[in-house]
């Protein structure tokens, strides 16, 4: 039982509030003191940004990919590393981050990393994961005087030449509509272009996923005999597509003549669902990316076709281009818009030519000297601006 003091005017009443305020002030004060109270967030001298050449000895190369666990992105990273080696850089100078397909995470990681480097000595090669994060990424590069090459995602409104004060070296992507259309056609032909298919899409709000579906639509338009029974998103995920395909098989049964997929992982998922239903090799699936497992599925006859693009080359080229600009070998001003926002070649892989893709790629071809001759040798055209 508490000892009685009788009713006292309690000391801790004001304390409780003081304590609270203290808590806040300590934190904010701490921050303010370090930051000082004058500077603003925009770089002091915009015109000068990204004009000074980098120092190859200490330059840091940040690679932002969707997921380490993706074979395609693994290739991209490998490509960058190979190029870095041929440039005489240390392995430790290449630092990969994954966004897990959430641009915010990537922007945060890169922001944190850059904020502790000395500015003007970094190259960023990154997939913003969604156009929403391209602008923050460019601003980030700008604030830190870092050279930036973006992949895949870019809103229609902004371009390397009108944004980022020369820090945004280039944007590189692939013409997904075209290759997806080719792949779809092969799939249709596998069942005589008469019957129904289902489409397993990527993350719904992802433009790449949309482009790939657009390609399918174009193919469908040219093949009145083929009907799209159902189109469901599986968020690039193998397991999700496996489940989804299984359910769709349950729904459409024999009507189902083919399963179109927006990427390899989902394609492999679909194949397993088909195998589970005893339809593997009978009803074919498609893939997109060009991962080894997909090529094997193709060789086994589970896949009809795979749209492939060379992640190794993409990584190597992007670094090479950014590097040559960063060291002053290439003058940005001299480059055309096509040379700063371009599609790289894609290839349609089918049972006929798959063997060529099963052999291990020749990394020797990825040396700086081999590529710098013509950075645009494998360009298929300018990036469509309709997004």
């Amino acid at each position: 039982m508490p000892k009685t003091k009788g009713p006292t005017l309690n000391p801790t009443i004001r304390k409780s509030r003081k304590r609270a305020l203290a808590l806040a002030s300590v934190v904010t004060a701490a921050i303010l003191t370090v930051t000082g109270c004058t500077s603003t967030l925009t770089p002091t001298d915009p015109s000068a940004s990204c004009s000074t050449p980098i120092d190859p000895k200490t330059v840091k190369i940040y690679v932002g990919v969707g997921a380490f666990a993706s074979p395609y992105f693994a290739d991209v990273i490998k490509g960058v590393q190979t190029m870095a080696k041929s440039l005489g850089l240390e392995d430790s100078q290449v630092i990969p981050y994954e966004s897990n397909f959430d641009g915010q995470q990537l922007v945060n990681s890169l922001g944190s990393a850059l904020s502790s480097d000395e500015p003007g000595n970094a190259i960023i090669l990154a997939d913003p994961a969604s156009p929403a994060f391209t602008k923050p990424l460019v601003e980030l590069a700008q604030e830190n005087d870092a050279r930036l090459v973006t992949w895949w995602n870019r809103p229609a409104e902004i371009h390397p030449w009108d944004t980022g004060d020369g820090c945004w070296v280039a944007h590189q992507s692939y013409d997904m509509v075209a290759v997806s259309k080719q792949v779809s056609q092969v799939l249709f032909d596998s069942f005589g272009a008469e019957g129904g298919i289902v489409a397993i899409g990527g993350v719904p709000d992802n433009p790449t996923a949309k482009d790939r579906l657009a390609g399918l639509q174009e193919a469908l338009a040219e093949n009145p005999g083929v009907t799209l029974l159902d189109s469901q998103p599986a968020n690039w995920d193998q397991t999700a597509s496996q489940t989804l395909t299984a359910q769709l098989i349950g729904k459409y049964g024999t009507e189902l003549k083919g399963v179109w997929n927006a990427n390899d992982a989902m394609g492999l998922g679909s194949v397993e669902a088909l195998r589970g239903a005893g339809l593997a090799g009978v009803v074919l699936a498609t893939g997109m990316d060009g991962s080894p497992n997909a090529f094997e599925a193709l060789a086994q006859g589970d896949f009809a076709a795979v749209g492939s693009y060379d992640g190794l080359y993409q990584g190597a080229l992007s670094l090479a281009l950014a590097y040559s600009v960063a060291v002053g070998e290439t003058d940005l001003a001299s480059l055309s818009e096509t040379q700063r926002a371009f599609y790289l070649e894609t290839s349609l892989v089918t049972s006929t030519n798959v063997d060529g893709f099963l052999v291990a790629p020749d990394l020797g071809a990825l040396s700086y000297d081999a590529i710098k001759g013509d950075f645009w040798a494998k360009v298929s055209g300018p990036v469509r601006v309709d997004g």
């Binding site: 039982m1 508490p2 009713p7 005017l9 309690n10 000391p11």
Partner: protein, 510 residues
């Protein structure tokens, strides 16, 4: 005569600076019921913890049938045949009775951790039979009535006798604090029947009970054993003096402070009048009036529906049918907020669940019902708040280190005072429903609570009192009504001047 079953000699237990037990010595012989009385904080509960192995003594000797022991845990104590029945019921609602009886030890039916349900229920039923319980051991505890669960508690304690070779000792911690007269009689009968199988240590602060059931009584005060008495040769007042250290006022229920009850007619409408109140499954045809400044006692056993009635008047149940008038104006109460707005207050029986907000300060607890008085436009005016709070702290002599102390750190009695003050501080309060206001309080605290109720009535408050004991009910009330099975079975007017026969009242109840 062999060594006593249990023998403590000069046992001392300190918690930090506080000395909970100060060289206490006592003995319990075979087949004996030993009573222990003392106020809260006198050291009773520490003594029980020590005997049941949940705490160990700092010094002194603890012997069981002559041999010194040191019990490490309750399980330890159980093996030595010492079982405790907690005041706070320690049954698990979603297990069967049988499981609760055997919880914490493996019986034949649960060998190797696998349950043989038929066997388990057989064992369970056998144990229940010993206590003369009529419900099956396969019943879910959650669906038993309170007294039934109390019986299960005791059954569990007794069942220890089977797997312990020692003679059994049962520690009863305030076993009656939540029971009503009929049940208490039943319990006592059981205890007396136990004598040949077990010794009982009966802890309570209800002297009448201790005197009636015990063969010997120890009186404890501030951690010391201040006296040992033979119930035959002592009376309540003497024990009271030993416990509290002061003479017990013959005006225990402070009826002298009671304002002379004027016939309600001259005083205008009754503060609360209820007619034809009914709530299906709970009670029906309830009609009564309470005049301002008078106390209406509401008697009955646990399932008599009186608690539901009280709660329904405060809007804690589905809205009952019938008419409720406050100061003659019909009111419809759909929830506590309406009740309070209409001037009806309620002091809950479940103090720690519904009475006070544990973990919140005394000040906050006191002001939850009067936001408008401590704030303007929603913003707390701390000075005003503190004035009001301190006013009530001093009015009710609430013993708290300061206004911001956690109400959970207060003694039961002071918590109850906070719960009272919370309601009394409502300016327009006309009717106060007090549900078992002194449950689990010691004598000193009880007296304070009675006094406060009196003061409230003196200010013209009408009080509806639900009470544990008939003493309290008739000591405090002006008029009393008795309920049974949801109906009123007896009315006793102006009980202060003419006390009715208790046995008749009990007949009305059961």
């Amino acid at each position: 005569m062999s060594a006593p079953l249990i023998e403590l000699s000069a046992v001392t237990k300190k918690y930090g600076a506080v000395t909970a037990l100060d060289s206490v010595s006592l003995t319990v012989n075979r087949g004996e019921i030993v009573g222990i009385i003392g106020q809260n904080g006198a050291g009773k509960s520490t003594l029980l913890k020590l005997l049941s192995g949940s705490v160990q003594a700092d010094s002194g000797e603890f012997r069981i049938s002559g041999e010194p022991v040191r019990l490490g845990s309750t399980a330890d104590a159980a093996r030595r045949g010492i079982a405790i029945v907690h005041q706070e019921q320690s049954l698990i609602p979603n297990l069967t009775v049988a499981e609760n009886v055997f919880v914490g030890r493996s019986s034949g039916a649960t060998r190797g951790g696998f349950y043989n349900w038929p066997a388990l229920f057989r064992d369970g039923d056998r144990q229940l039979a010993k206590m003369g319980c009529d419900f099956p051991s396969s019943a879910m505890v959650g669906e038993l009535t309170f007294i039934q669960r109390q019986m299960v508690e005791i059954t569990r304690a007794l069942s220890l006798g089977d797997d312990s070779d020692d003679h059994l000792t049962i520690l009863l911690d305030e076993p009656t604090s939540l029971l009503n007269p009929g049940d208490i009689e039943f319990l006592f009968a059981e205890l007396r029947a136990l004598k040949q199988r077990a010794s009982v240590l009966f802890v309570s602060h209800r002297m009448d009970e201790v005197l009636s059931i015990s063969d010997r009584v120890y009186v404890m005060s501030n951690g010391r054993c201040v006296a040992e008495r033979d119930p035959a040769q002592c009376n309540e007042d003497e024990l009271y003096r030993l416990m509290v250290g002061e003479e017990r006022s013959d005006d225990y229920y402070s009826s002298r402070r009671k304002s002379p009850t004027v016939p309600s007619a001259t005083l205008g409408p009754p503060a609360l009048s209820v007619s034809g109140l009914a709530l299906n499954g709970e009670f029906k045809e309830i009609s009564f009036e309470i005049a301002p400044g008078s106390i209406l006692g509401l008697g009955g056993v646990v399932d008599s529906g009186r608690e539901q009635l009280a709660r329904s008047l405060f809007g804690l149940t589905r809205a009952p049918a019938g008419e409720v008038r406050v100061d003659g104006i019909p009111v419809r109460i759909s929830g506590p907020r309406h009740a309070i707005r209409h001037g009806i207050g309620y002091v809950a029986a479940e103090r720690k669940v519904e009475g006070v907000l544990l973990g919140q300060s005394v000040a906050r607890n006191l002001t939850y019902c009067i936001p408008d008085r401590i704030s303007s436009m929603g913003w707390i005016r701390r000075r005003r708040e503190l004035e009001i709070v301190n006013e009530w702290i001093s009015k009710l002599k609430i013993k708290a280190p300061h206004a911001r102390a956690d109400v959970g750190s207060l003694s039961g009695g002071n918590q109850q005072k906070v719960a009272l003050a919370k309601m009394l501080s409502i300016p327009h309060l006309k009717v106060l429903i007090v549900d078992h206001p002194t449950r689990g309080l010691d004598l000193g605290a009880k007296a304070d609570v009675y006094e406060q109720i009196r003061i409230a009535t003196a200010r013209g408050m009408a009080v509806l009192l639900l009470s544990d004991t008939l003493d309290e009910l008739f000591g405090l009330s002006d008029n009393v009504i008795i309920m049974k099975d949801g109906q009123i079975t007896g009315r006793h007017l102006d009980v202060q001047s003419c006390q009715p026969q208790f046995d008749q009242v009990v007949r009305e109840m059961v």
